[in-house]
Symmetry: C2
Amino acid sequence: MAEPAREQKPKWRRRAESRPDEILDAALTIFERDGFDAARVEDIAKEAKLSKAGVYLYFDAKDAILRGLIEREVAPIARNLRAMAEAGVSDPKGALRMIIAGLTELAGDRRKFAVPRLVLSVASRYPDLAAFYRENVVDQGLGAAEMLVKAGVEQGVFRPCEPGVAARSLLGPIFIHGFYTHFLLGDRGPLEPAARIEAHTDILLNGLAARG
Amino acid sequence: MAEPAREQKPKWRRRAESRPDEILDAALTIFERDGFDAARVEDIAKEAKLSKAGVYLYFDAKDAILRGLIEREVAPIARNLRAMAEAGVSDPKGALRMIIAGLTELAGDRRKFAVPRLVLSVASRYPDLAAFYRENVVDQGLGAAEMLVKAGVEQGVFRPCEPGVAARSLLGPIFIHGFYTHFLLGDRGPLEPAARIEAHTDILLNGLAARG
DNA sequence: CAACAATAACTTACTCGTCAGTCATATACT
DNA sequence: AGTATATGACTGACGAGTAAGTTATTGTTG
């Protein structure tokens, strides 16, 4: 009758290596759904399949999880943009096209795109987090675009302009479009990256182009 | 010795007319500082100089206060943009210049600019609020720009393009710049509206312009 | 124009649920 | 045996919203 004590599987496993990433995965899911404040650490824990106390073995506090997400999800992308810019100074127009295309694709990824929104919404209460994000993400990305605009102007490909302003003009719309589509529309609006990339890039590069 | 009961002033006054506005003023101050979730209704009440229960005489719930702020602070601006666009179809370029200038000035107003950030951060939990904002603010503003681009294309002032994309390219950078300046930089970055307006408008309108 | 009733505007004090973070204890691994 | 990894149960504080009572104001009546 009674099953003999057969192969009772352990109540939990040691997974010290993989836990941080699992927690970040879970946190992103929950944060994306609820926002930072309304998200419960307990829900993140459940999603990551461990206990709440378990989460605190790997992250000191709730906001440390968000910092972890910045590090893992978006900082590498920004650094990559920077690298692309450095590699592309000889062809500013082409490099800018690539950067815009890359960012537009990113803007289609609702999960990744949730991170900037989270940072923005808590920035006033976590100034350190805001500074970290600014240095590692925003300034990298804007810097990349700025560098290319400057190079283009020097090479006579673009007409003279304020590189800082031009950089914002190039990248701003992509973010606004992402915010609008993912977080205000819900699901209703389709995001047609290819068409948008073309249209936006055309307008902007044409606007920057030196008159032939 | 003891002061006789002289002219004891009332413990409070009836101000049914002015209360809602006073509460909204206070709420904006507190929301801007703390964000929606971390803001306490009690703090809003104190700032507005009445009791917490008093606030609930005028607003059903915390999110109703935010809706009130949308109505009072930003919806009128969006409607105004729309009106400017309708009045300006005969001169799309000039009207767009005016719209960009107006929005850029708005982007310098940290108080007003806090509202979009608040909405964005709670949109996923308050879909009705998000819809209200979208219909009364975003769609009005984008619609205005779109209308003018379309008119410009038809009149041959602008070369053919997707009006929706162009509208975002025109307005997106302004918002991104506002978010960045007010909420990520703290206070460090100066906002030089005049110069920015010129530079941004130049790039974009030049990009849209029909080739002579 | 007092006195007083009726009501609108307001407050104090509370309830009730929530949740970040901790502590004592247990289990898996080496 | 010893330790790293995990858990369940707890604490302590907090905060949205409410109930019941209080005060200012308005109107009414003799």
